[in-house]
Symmetry: C2
Subunit: 300 residues, 2 copies
Amino acid sequence: MHAADTLQASIDRTGSLAVVGLDPRPALIPPALRTQALARHGDTRLAVAWAFAQFNRGLLAAVQGACCAVKPQVACYEAYGAPGLQALEETISEANRLSIPVIVDGKRNDIGSTAEHYAQAWLGAAPGFTGALPAGPKGDWLTVNAYLGSDGVKPFLAHGAVFVLVKTSNPGSGEFQGLKLADGDANMEAMAKLVRQWGEGRTGACGLNDVGAVVGATWPAEAKRLRALMPNTIFLVPGYGAQGGSAADALAGRRPDGRGCVVNSSRAIIGAWEKPKATDWAGAARAALDAMNKDLASAR
Amino acid sequence: MHAADTLQASIDRTGSLAVVGLDPRPALIPPALRTQALARHGDTRLAVAWAFAQFNRGLLAAVQGACCAVKPQVACYEAYGAPGLQALEETISEANRLSIPVIVDGKRNDIGSTAEHYAQAWLGAAPGFTGALPAGPKGDWLTVNAYLGSDGVKPFLAHGAVFVLVKTSNPGSGEFQGLKLADGDANMEAMAKLVRQWGEGRTGACGLNDVGAVVGATWPAEAKRLRALMPNTIFLVPGYGAQGGSAADALAGRRPDGRGCVVNSSRAIIGAWEKPKATDWAGAARAALDAMNKDLASAR
């Protein structure tokens, strides 16, 4: 089954274009959970990792059915070493169990057999000494950075689906992505053309393909231009809300049929309990997600 | 202390420009170690990770004093999940104990607080609930991909030193890095100019700075052009040997004073035992490293 079809089916089932970013930080852990973590493990990497796993378990139960996917940010877990990675694996496993598509946000990149290892880590299974090891919890999609060219992207495609960084949401993304090429394109447009090529022959029944693009909500005009270059590409859209992108901005790159954009929100959902210090943090996350869905629906 | 000075001091002490790539794979684990790992843990992620840690411990003892740095490739460990990351942490810790500079090859990239988390993971320490956690084993350098621009590089520089991908060793690296810009530069040259900027104010006593560049040995003509754009930048040079770069190619980008290049080799060293199936795998690695040092010295 194409990852694009699984994602589109999840959109159709939930009616949501929202992707919940699971980007936990110690400061985002609700007080009761923090107290429990400190009591169990002291102030250690293990305590933080334990809290992340519990927090995500509660969040996944709360957002289930109201988002099309979740997107854990690997950096948040990696900062806590092996225990952090264990918490991420538990989180992906729980999302797998709940049949929520998982976009692993790792922005990985390398070439040849090294890229294969990243693909094994997040999309497939690694070899043991005598054969393939059982696959653990696995993502449906992995974000990748394609500065290395096709040599750094194709190895991933043998294992699963990717979102390639094209136009990122940060204010300074134009510094490199916006450089004008001799042929008139900007770098992001050259990248978009590569993304389109890589997606050829990988199109699902829904008409979209398994090589997506990251296109920030903070660049709606660019998103429209990029859509013309990538008609059958799913856009993963960061930068909605906190970073300044409105619902209309976030969906600026959608296709004429309304498809082709999924929109991430992290802190506004998982940190919704912070104001006004709700004790029901899972309920606060769901309420924030419902509000986001309403906002996106109004712009569809 | 600047990471550039620590690395230059290591070069001066060992007389070597060689970086030993610690990129273990199950197929590269010598038979005796493999048998031990299987007996201890069966054919599991834990067995592979245990073997990686033991293998690296032996390799580090063997190459100590004869290389200027080691470069673990994160992907190889990440493929084995939390146990794999644990093996990498043990490896970095052992290199720290032996005072061998560590270049963490992760090609990480992200913006703002997310980039901070990667920096915490590999160059610094992460926050707990009540303050900073004790720093674990840490790299001296981290490889980063700067497609996101300054927003994706500066957060790393607050924590340590980086090597930015400029011209990678793969045959297809020109596909994107070689695109011609309207101002006459190729993309790799635009990246080189950014690298030079980022390095300003970060120069050590040795005259080199803490923002290095990855420049493949497979592109000697480009390395010379890139040196002119980055006079005080250390080049981390992959692609020597197996990928086709000679010693002269690998050192093509060195400065007039002979400084400014370190050259990676992975499989030819750590897999030297494979032919002719040496039982002393650590000795075979050291012999291969000695031969590489001789080869590099002849081209210096």
